[in-house]
């Protein structure tokens, strides 16, 4: 793997990152790529590693919406929300930046080695302040989070427990004077406690892609792909909109009156068009309101 390096003060060192109290002395960059991406309008989408299906689909929805509108999605390549944010951006054929908390040559977590390759292949960046060979260590992750927050114009916390690393990113963003957004969660779920606490402290609620784009000063773009308009798909979308935006296949079958087979066909077409996401048997609408 070829590895590049930009020192602070050199051309290409991202201006926003230079403004934080403790900017890294240099940024290592994986691959032989143009680091110009570092200077583009970007949004950090972060959250818990142990997240719910709701959290995953929201991370994906916001990331793909932001990427489709031209924003670069920055996250930490971790499991859970981070991974979904990167994947959402890739799905929208957008660019995304993964910031590592270990040496630039390390794939951590190992399960996301393939994702890291896909990010670079799609014209994105994998960056780190650590030289090759540095092991991942717990105390390096908060330091990594300051870079995530520092690169982005706004930070969106999707799902976080009360003492989550994502909240550290939010704190850095506040210190840096950037916008902080939080996705409201169920008040009974400990998974959402951190994000809801941020909202109570005055963070901007991220209730749709538009909220994120507004914080970035970008114009929303129509969702990519053609949403199928056959009666089956329309019935499914209507049922999802009438419900909580989510439902199991059986609930949708009853709401739409479609037979299980016809419903399955409609769901597959909607999923193919990117209009719904299915995870662990729960169907969620991913069309930005």
């Amino acid at each position: 793997m070829t590895i590049g390096r930009i020192r602070r003060g050199e051309r290409g060192y991202p201006a926003l990152l230079g403004q934080i109290p403790d900017p890294p002395a240099s940024l290592w960059i994986r691959g032989d790529v143009d680091p110009a991406l570092l200077g583009e309008t970007s949004v950090a989408i972060v959250g818990a590693r142990a997240c719910s299906g709701y959290g995953r689909s929201v991370a994906r929805l916001l990331a793909s919406g932001a990427a489709a509108a031209g924003a670069v999605v920055v996250s930490g390549l971790a499991r859970g929300i981070d991974g979904e944010a990167h994947r959402g951006a890739l799905a929208a054929r957008g660019a995304t930046i993964a910031v590592l908390g270990c040496g630039i040559d390390r794939d951590y977590p190992a399960a996301h080695a393939e994702l890291a390759r896909a990010i670079v292949a799609a014209g994105g960046l994998v960056v780190s302040e650590y030289e090759p060979g540095v092991e991942p260590a717990p105390w390096r992750f908060p330091a990594r989070n300051r870079i995530i927050a520092g690169l982005a114009a706004a930070t969106v916390v999707v799902e976080a427990r009360e003492r989550s690393g994502a909240l550290i990113s939010a704190d850095f963003a506040l210190e840096d004077g950037r916008d902080v957004l939080a996705v409201p969660g169920e008040i009974t779920s400990t998974l959402s406690a951190g994000a809801n606490a941020l909202l109570r402290q005055g963070a901007t609620p991220a209730t749709c892609v538009g909220d994120v784009l507004e914080a970035l000063g970008l114009d929303p773009r129509a969702p990519g792909g053609d949403v199928p308009d056959d009666p089956g798909s329309a019935a499914v979308l209507a049922a999802l909109a009438a419900g909580a935006g989510a439902g199991t296949a059986d609930e949708l079958a009853r709401a739409t009156g479609l037979a299980a087979g016809d419903l399955a066909a409609a769901l597959a077409l909607l999923e193919l068009a990117g209009a719904v996401a299915v995870e662990e048997g729960v169907v969620r609408s991913t069309i930005a309101r």
């Binding site: 719910s52 059986d250 193919l272």
Partner: protein
């Protein structure tokens, strides 16, 4: 003096002709030895045969007795040679007519009281006799119906004395009629008991019609196992040759109740996750069919799939691919057919909270991925149908009454026979959709083939001569979801 009889040994399912010869000669010390690679159980035949002959009030030849089991290179295992050995001795000592004995194959175990007991693998042994041109088989009375399935004259005897009386022509014994087939259908749990679960029921129907493997994933208590156990009730009855094949395997495994005839219903096996690889796949010193072979042409249910040892799951891949288990032995290879529908269930995480909106999952991501990693991607790839069964947030509405198994089974039968006769061809627009899906979704080459296969089954169930785009679309919805192969 020399006596001869014919019997059959089994190597796997394969019958091998065994000639039993007895030689009697005078000697100072009467003795009895068996040669010809006889195993322990077979050596013990000496005691059973001697007591049996005495109990039948026949004369034990007080001579130097040598019994040879030929071919000498084939390992003789088990107790099925007893009857042949006893009758050979009696022929050598001129107590039964040798010519008449030579017209029969003799298979059966002897009790110390001379009773003739059933042995495993009767059907396969009788088929060996039929193939060797031996028309009559002397066998235990309980197994006569089973032996008659092979198309031989099965002469069922209860006691050694009865066999002798028959061979001497004192008593006539009517050849047994082929065993009646059992229809267990009435006792099978019915699909009518399952409320809701429209998607799960649909997948079950597809699995039945197209012989697809099905994985049901969801939190505990959503009815995964209940649904899986109802798959046998919607499978069509076995074809005549299929029934023979299944009966043969179950006969060898000794899982047939005595006196039962042809197994006409597809078998259902549900080994516990504590079962060893040998028990599931088959094998052992004496090669025996494992659960995969006992499920041949039927259903193998692996409940809580990730709880099975990795070695067992990996050993499943060969039979899933080839439809046959091959056990290498010194005396050759034993082949057991193992073409079954695999139905497996699993939770979405170790604590079972995932997919259940009422409980919060307490598993760390590392634990979840360790749990899911227990089922290798290669094995996951063998499931044509993967269905998540989340807990419904609202209580199931007691909607229209659920369909009974008999109704579904009729549809399955029609679709299966349609698939047998003519494979529906894909319309170009359906192929386009499949190409688009491969392009947009994480779908491997093998995944594409799986979707195409399921789409054919959907078309057959719909009574369509062609695979239409909606069939491909539905098939796509049963592909293995990304979350099971990553975390």
């Amino acid at each position: 003096m020399l006596g001869r009889a014919v019997t059959f040994a089994l190597v796997g399912l394969e019958p091998r002709r065994v000639e039993v010869e007895a030689h009697l000669r005078s000697g100072q010390q009467p003795s009895f030895s068996i040669v010809g690679l006889a195993d322990r159980a077979c050596q013990e035949a000496k005691h059973r045969v001697r007591s049996g002959v005495h109990s039948a009030l026949l004369k034990w030849p007080e001579r130097v007795i040598t019994v040879n089991l030929a071919p000498a290179a084939l390992r003789k295992e088990g107790t099925g040679f007893d009857l042949a050995i006893a009758l050979t001795l009696l022929a050598a000592s001129e107590q039964v007519p040798a010519v008449r004995l030579a017209q029969h194959a003799c298979i059966g175990q002897l009790g110390l009281d001379g009773r003739v007991r059933p042995v495993a693998g009767m059907l396969a042994a009788a088929e060996g006799a039929a193939r060797a041109g031996i028309e009559r088989v002397l066998c235990p009375a309980e197994s006569a119906g089973e032996a008659a399935l092979a198309g031989v004259e099965a002469i069922g005897v209860r006691h050694l004395a009865e066999a002798v009386g028959y061979l001497l022509g004192h008593d006539a014994i009517e050849p047994a009629a082929a065993g009646e087939s059992r229809r267990a259908g009435a006792q099978l749990p019915d699909l009518g008991d399952v409320r809701g679960q429209e998607r799960g029921r649909r997948a079950l129907e597809l699995a039945a019609a197209g012989a697809h493997n099905l994985l049901l994933a969801g939190p505990p208590g959503t009815g995964k196992t209940m649904l899986a156990r109802r798959l046998p009730s919607i499978l069509p009855a076995l074809s005549p040759e299929g029934a023979l094949e299944v009966t043969r395997i179950h006969s060898i495994a000794g899982t047939l109740p005595p006196g039962s005839g042809l197994v006409a219903e597809p078998p259902f096996r549900a080994p516990h996750h504590g079962a060893s690889a040998a028990a599931v796949v088959g094998g052992g010193v004496v090669p025996r069919p494992g659960e995969v072979s006992l499920a041949h042409r039927g259903v193998l249910l692996l409940d809580e799939l990730p709880e099975f040892p990795r070695s067992v799951l990996e050993a499943l891949r060969q039979p899933l691919e080839d439809g046959v288990v091959s056990v290498a032995r010194v005396g050759g290879r034993a082949l057991f057919p193992a073409r079954f529908r695999l139905v497996a269930t699993m939770n979405l995480c170790p604590c079972g909270g995932r997919g259940d909106s009422r409980i919060e999952c307490t598993c760390t991501p590392a634990r979840v991925s360790a749990y899911r990693d227990r089922v290798s991607r290669a094995l996951l790839d063998r499931f044509d149908l993967v269905v998540a069964m989340p807990r419904p947030r609202a209580e199931e509405l007691a909607s229209s009454s659920a369909e009974q198994s008999a109704t579904v089974r009729e549809r399955v039968r029609e679709a299966a026979s349609r698939l047998d006769h003519e494979t529906p061809r894909r319309r170009p627009s359906a192929s386009e959709l499949l190409d688009r899906a491969v392009d947009r979704l994480p779908l491997s080459g093998r995944g594409r083939a799986r979707v195409a296969r399921v789409a054919r089954t959907i078309a057959a169930l719909a009574g369509s001569a062609e695979v239409l785009p909606e069939h491909v679309a539905e098939a796509l919805s049963y592909r293995s979801p990304a979350e099971l192969s990553r975390s």
